[in-house]
Symmetry: C2
């Protein structure tokens, strides 16, 4: 046995050395690739061309898939690998693009700029060369002065104070200044902005948390209020930072957010709360968990790692939301009987009905989540 | 403007050609790397050495992270990339290892081997050189003959028929044969196997669906029933196929599965059912979705892409499960008042209580899910 192990080591070491040498070469090539990508970026910047070029990426992936087959490599593996590489160069490019400005030297006032989301936007504007000032409760006495000659007033305060802050700040604004807000509900704030300010109005809802370092592919909903032409530069600036801008009406936005934010977070809260009541053994449970459950439980844990006040604000934002959540609970009560009578057939019928309604989205979801589960297995 | 575009093309094309040339070189190196890895595999196989060598992988990652810094590359990016590469070689190696057998030429009878999970295991055993037979309702008249001289009888039938099938098959088994089952509940089946068969008994629950092509890092729970020594080869075989084997008692297993399977799937069903009742606009909702919601909605869609009867079986499996799900619904009813009275503070208090209970798991979940969200952004 000992001799066999010695023999094995003698044979495997040169193979491992060869693999290490190959890895070093790959690393050097990646560094050279990065240098070339930076040259492309410099060119794009000079010519004001957007960073993300989906067609070029897809071409590159298709060609590599073909080449992989010839070289005896798995094309899916090659695609996975290049998605990582392309994302890295996109992030690098976007980070540099952040310094680009659509309306250089314009003056931006962030109201609530000491909060997390306000700070994020203040820093984005500052990096892009805007002149940024911040107004908080503590320097409110300077509000009138800070509003002089500004091009944009961006309101980033908690939902329940948004209307009131808009009312207070509007009289100080130059009539041509753009008034925008970052609140996660839009009907009330946009109506209040239109009422209080005669100039351009834009409602904005960034669909991400304030801890991001890069807006790459993050979604921002904009609800045009008044004078879209005068608001265009702000929408363009969001795009230049890497965000995907989706346009909506305040009403549609709020209806969709009732589900995307309030219902989803509330359902997750209820699930975590029940696990806690039952004192479920989390650590042992994870040992027993397939990647999909690990992921699902991770989504629950993730919620509770975040700010309770923020979620309270989202969930309790409006009467409509609270009514929707009540309806949700009532819809669960209807399932009690099925459980009491052990009526599997009723479950199957309802399941089938919902599955039909989900339609092609289910298959897409299956593909996407299977991809993620593979990533989870890879990493953890 | 046209002249400018022409100028841009002239300058960018040689850069892109250079990038394409680098990519071709990387691809050739990856193909060479794969060839070396296959030599390592052949050696390991000859010396009966396990495929997965965590220490070697971690060494390699650490070294590459160091080299990345020197070469001006982001070490996290390099690690991401090599996790993909290492996983690929592990999968390739594991696929080949599937043909290895712990107890070559042993005889396996899969009862219910025409079902999906039964077929998967029948095929795994066959690939590893076992002599595999399949017993179904249709050839039950040959049961006695097929049981002669077998080393393993593996029961893979729906939960509600497991006990009955065990009772029927046991009298035909050689007393020294190992009797095992693949049911997703364990208390009843293991007790029934111990009662009906005097020889070695092992309860098994594979925590994955039957559509897998590779068991790499998948979890399998085993519940020893009788004569662990005589069962060891089967546990070892699961490990050789790449699975992570977790040992438990039937009671602990069932308690944990009430939560991991029944509660989670039921909660997801309720959520999807409510979306359907409300006729939520899925497509538009996705346009408004940050990656995290896309992922969460994907988890719901994923459920409904699968077999309703399978989920009915899991959810309604036992009285204990149905009671747990009723308790879950009742716990939600308690939240109605908080919504009716708009009591944000109560929500914050409960949230904080649960967050404290989740403890360090929340941060881990945050890290893991953030990693996945990045992957999702990369890909879709």
């Amino acid at each position: 046995m000992k001799k066999d192990n010695k023999n094995f080591s003698d044979q495997i070491l040169p193979l491992r050395d060869e693999i290490d040498a190959i890895d070093s070469k790959i690393l050097s090539l990646l560094a050279r690739r990065q240098a070339q990508v930076e040259k492309v970026l410099a060119l794009k910047k000079a010519h004001n061309i957007p960073v993300y070029h989906p067609a070029r990426e897809e071409d590159l992936i298709s060609r590599l898939r073909l080449q992989s087959k010839t070289a005896g490599l798995d094309p899916d593996f090659m695609e996975d690998l290049y998605r990582v590489i392309l994302r890295q160069s996109r992030v690098k490019q976007t980070q540099k693009m952040e310094h680009k400005s659509v309306k250089p030297d314009s003056r931006v006032l962030v109201i609530g700029g000491a909060g997390q989301m306000g700070s994020l936007f203040a820093s984005l504007f500052a990096k892009s060369g805007y002149e940024v000032n911040i107004l908080t409760e503590h320097n409110w006495d300077q509000a009138r002065k800070l509003c002089q000659n500004i091009d944009l007033a961006l309101v980033s305060v908690p939902i329940e104070r948004t209307a009131q802050v808009i009312e207070k700040i509007a009289p100080f604004l130059p009539p041509t200044a753009l008034l925008a807000d970052l609140t996660s509900v839009k009907t009330g704030p946009v109506a209040q902005m239109l009422l209080s300010h005669p100039g351009p109005v834009l409602g904005i809802h960034p669909l991400f948390g304030p801890t991001l370092s890069c807006l790459d592919k993050q979604i921002v909903v904009v609800c045009p209020g008044r004078d879209e032409t005068a608001c265009q530069w702000l929408t363009d600036q969001l795009g230049l930072w890497g965000a995907v801008v989706v346009e909506s009406t305040p009403q549609e936005h709020d209806q969709i957010m009732e589900i995307v934010q309030a219902l989803r977070h509330f359902a997750t809260f209820c699930f975590g709360d029940f696990l806690c009541q039952r004192q479920a053994k989390l650590a042992r449970t994870l040992e027993f968990s397939s990647p999909i459950y690990r992921l699902e439980l991770g989504m629950v844990g993730r919620l509770f790692a975040q700010d309770s006040a923020l979620y309270a604000e989202i969930i309790f934002a409006t009467q409509e939301r609270r009514d929707l959540l009540k309806e949700f609970i009532l819809s669960l009560i209807l399932h009690l009987k099925m459980l009491e009578t052990n009526d599997k057939q009723l479950f199957i019928d309802q399941f089938t009905h919902v599955a039909r309604w989900f339609g092609p989205f289910s298959d897409q979801a299956m593909r996407e989540s299977t991809f993620l589960i593979d990533k989870l297995i890879e990493r953890f």
